[in-house]
């Protein structure tokens, strides 16, 4: 196994969300050699927050994150208060399940807008409002820079450099969720990982397929694509990161159609062989 200095493998629940609810996923982790979990909020809501917390505690799984807060740029459409309140609930939920961080997908352009600088300023401002509350709750906020192909509709923070800039500006309690899928192409990646240092709160893995047939739903299993995952893992570990590697695969036409037991077994096998 190449990733031995990490804490282990964690399951981002998106990976088998088409097949299973949390009730099935949580007990299936440990038997598959998976010692962490990172649930999505809609799944937590479906199972119930207390029941989710109870089940995860019962299995002794690390909670490597809660997915997700953010979507700050919906404020114009949904109302600033509504967006802030939703993030506050996410912070509470993250605290309740003992998540290592609340992952933030910050939102893209507001509907009808072409003002990406404005969107980025709004993200910064709303982070500034929420951060003191997150600190008080003991929940680190993790900005996830998304691949530039999501800049318009999902997240206008698209590089490690930008996430690091926000952390510089806003300070303690704000960190970064690094997903190899989103950042592998960036020529500044190695430098920005060093710059991030202990700000890296989560390390997400999957792979970039060639060809990629869909912008959202065609992520690959580790080893099936072109990302040099061990290189990025080593750079992340060199910052002092010793948490889990969290597998997160959106794959509506492949992995989401397979038996979930097979998916988990493959995740673990690839974690051992190519991460």
């Amino acid at each position: 196994m190449t990733g031995e200095a990490l804490a282990g493998l964690s399951l981002n629940t998106a990976t088998v969300r088409a097949q299973w609810g949390l009730e099935e996923m949580i007990p299936a982790c440990r038997p598959a050699g998976i010692t962490g979990i990172s649930p999505w909020r809609d799944q937590v809501a479906a199972t119930g927050l207390e029941e989710t917390a109870r089940m995860i505690e019962g299995e002794g799984l690390a909670v490597t994150g809660l997915c997700r807060g953010g979507m700050f740029t919906r404020a114009e459409a949904d109302g600033t208060q509504a967006v802030l309140d939703d993030n506050r609930r996410a912070i509470e939920e993250a605290a309740r399940i003992g998540a290592a961080c609340l992952v933030l997908v910050v939102g893209g352009l507001a509907p009808g807008s072409r003002d990406i600088d404005g969107a980025r300023a709004q993200v910064r401002d709303m982070l500034g409002v929420l951060l003191p509350e997150a600190r008080k709750a003991g929940v680190p906020l993790a900005i996830e820079p998304l691949h530039p192909m999501y800049a318009a509709d999902r997240a206008c923070v698209n590089t490690m450099a930008h996430a690091n800039d926000l952390c510089d500006e806003l300070g303690e309690g704000l960190g970064i969720a690094l997903d190899v899928y989103h950042v592998w192409w960036d020529p500044a990646l190695s430098d920005e990982i060093v710059r991030a240092g202990r700000r890296i709160l989560a390390f997400h893995i999957c792979d970039w397929l060639v060809p990629t047939r869909d912008l959202l739903m065609d992520r690959g299993m580790m080893g099936d694509g072109v990302i040099d995952i061990p290189r990025i893992r080593k750079e992340v570990q060199a910052t002092g990161y010793s948490g889990h590697a969290e597998v997160e695969i959106f794959s509506s036409e492949d992995w989401w159609k397979r038996p979930p037991e097979e998916v988990l077994a493959t995740c673990r096998e690839r974690y051992d062989s190519v991460v």
Copy 2:
């Protein structure tokens, strides 16, 4: 018209390639208010180099570029000599038709490779070989940074910063083709346009659609997407760029299915209203 300080609108021939050959495109430009053209090499080959040059001269069109050279990272599969020779032919063709630049799509990862740093080094090295020959031929080479979603399979130069770094290193005769589609998302864009200055050899336009349904073939007509084109145009013009805006739309399911006269008329109308 907002783009009045530019030289005019140029047609990248990919825009109507599904409907027309160069024989139809070239005479259709001026009647549509299009005063430049940027042909693709396969189309030039189909029409013949001399005939293409003759027709373009006859219409008095500016040749804003030749598409394309590059694909340096195919050297391992195809042989370094073959790739260099192909680029040498492209330089000759660009000289013959009086192209303002030879556009370079530099190539992605070599087949089976995960070594993006290695690919980038290979691009630099092969540019270093070709650049003196391009200078001698009087053909500026224009690196086109492609969107990061093409890093694996088309071009491992994905930001203006990286293209500027290559220009810094390799010097005179090397410049940049800036396509709004590829760079609009970049938080460093404005700074890197300033840094590029007179290196900007071509200015390509289209739009980013939301949603984007295909990574390659779903580019939008100017005004139909979310790119703030006038802002980028002004920044490019502020560097002293006074060439054409070149429309380049890959759209297998929409614009490539429309009557080409309608496509050209729409390009001109949008150039007047939203560029």
